[in-house]
Symmetry: C2
Subunit: 198 residues, 2 copies
DNA sequence: TGTACATCAGTGAACGCGCGTTCACTGATGTAC
DNA sequence: TGTACATCAGTGAACGCGCGTTCACTGATGTAC
């Protein structure tokens, strides 16, 4: 399509912006560059987004969706049948997927959390990554492996642990730790959460 | 001192930069502004620092020192005498101090980790915040409350948990969660680590 | 004690950067009649 | 089916931003003799 009117520019812009996010992180999502890649003048974007911030927010949503998808993929790989073991395995898969996504897609991960909406604003979206974690903990409660009263605290604790692990290894002081060490430490982190919950 | 030569400019620049870091975070440490505040032309700084990055690194070190001091303060408040309970209480104090510092001094905390040296570069500094955590875990081992083999993994796990908690509440999706909720969740996080370790 | 001179620590003007955003515009589209 | 015109989606030039950094310089300091 080489007409004057692009026809699908909004979608194209988000796609190009996401590609940039993936490659270079939040600061890499440069409005002029996005437009360039979409083959359009640098301010055509203003027809579709109020400003750069609005575009970035859209990309953040894409990032969240991809993270969620990665988590779902891992969840589906759990074959364990015994209910308690299954619930625990699924929670573990959730955490592992979170960290692996962050390390495999650092740009996307950072963008997803750079402009991410405050949890206080809109309850739980769609359900999103956090929703999946809550589901996992629900299952643990259902199966009798977690006291209902500890549900909320457990959610924040688990999230903190995997998020921190990702942050320290992504840009933090542990960024140079070798892959095998990292893997071992991730296992131990998940172990600690697992035993800490029961 | 109003002479042509400042006499103590390097120190003054680091102080002003630290003040800016405290107020406005990493991006707030603007070379020209730092010089302005020190009452000096904007490129006098180049006599003392190779570039902005070098100045920022110095400020990051200051931040680490302050974090460490905050942790030590909390450690000294632990009065428990029974060895096992004492070791556990001290570890908990360490974690709590980490999070409280991050939330009380977001700018400093962010700067400290924005340019922080990779752990791989120089073993353990001075001993620094991470060193204090390692000490705490050492004590737990000494006292028989933690298997020596789990020491390394426990360190990364604890650090991840408190770091993630701080990150999520600082700029992340939990940034708007009310103080009392936050406090409860922090307690539960520390509980989880405590039980997870033993 | 004085003087010459190397060295150090500051100054002020200038550059280039690439961006986000705004302005006034023009080409394309679709609907009313 | 044709035409008029409002509306929509794009264009291209321009602005201002404030910075980090470099350049050639000048004022102050201290040491050798």
């Amino acid at each position: 399509v080489t007409s004057y009117h692009h026809g699908n520019l909004r979608v194209a812009l988000v796609e190009e912006a996401a590609a940039l996010a993936r490659l270079r992180g939040p600061d890499g999502v440069v409005l002029r560059e996005v437009a360039r890649r979409a083959g359009v003048s640098h301010n055509a974007a203003y027809r579709h987004f109020a400003d750069r911030e609005a575009l970035l927010a859209e990309v953040a949503a894409v990032g969240m969706t991809r993270l969620e998808a990665a988590m779902r993929r891992r969840l589906d790989e759990v074959t364990e049948q015994e209910p308690v073991a299954r619930a625990r395995a699924r929670l573990r898969a959730t955490g592992r997927a979170y960290v692996e996504f962050a390390l495999a897609e650092p740009g996307m991960f950072e963008v997803a959390f750079s402009t991410s909406p405050s949890m206080a604003d809109d309850a739980v979206p769609s359900p999103g990554p956090y929703g999946l974690l809550l589901n996992g903990l629900d299952d643990l409660v259902t199966v009798g492996a977690l006291a209902r009263t500890r549900h909320a605290g457990a959610a924040v604790a688990c999230w903190s642990a995997v998020h921190g692990f990702a942050a320290l290894h992504l840009r933090g002081p542990l960024r140079d730790s070798p892959a095998d060490e990292r893997e071992q430490e991730l296992e131990q982190l998940l172990d600690l959460l697992d035993t800490g919950l029961s």
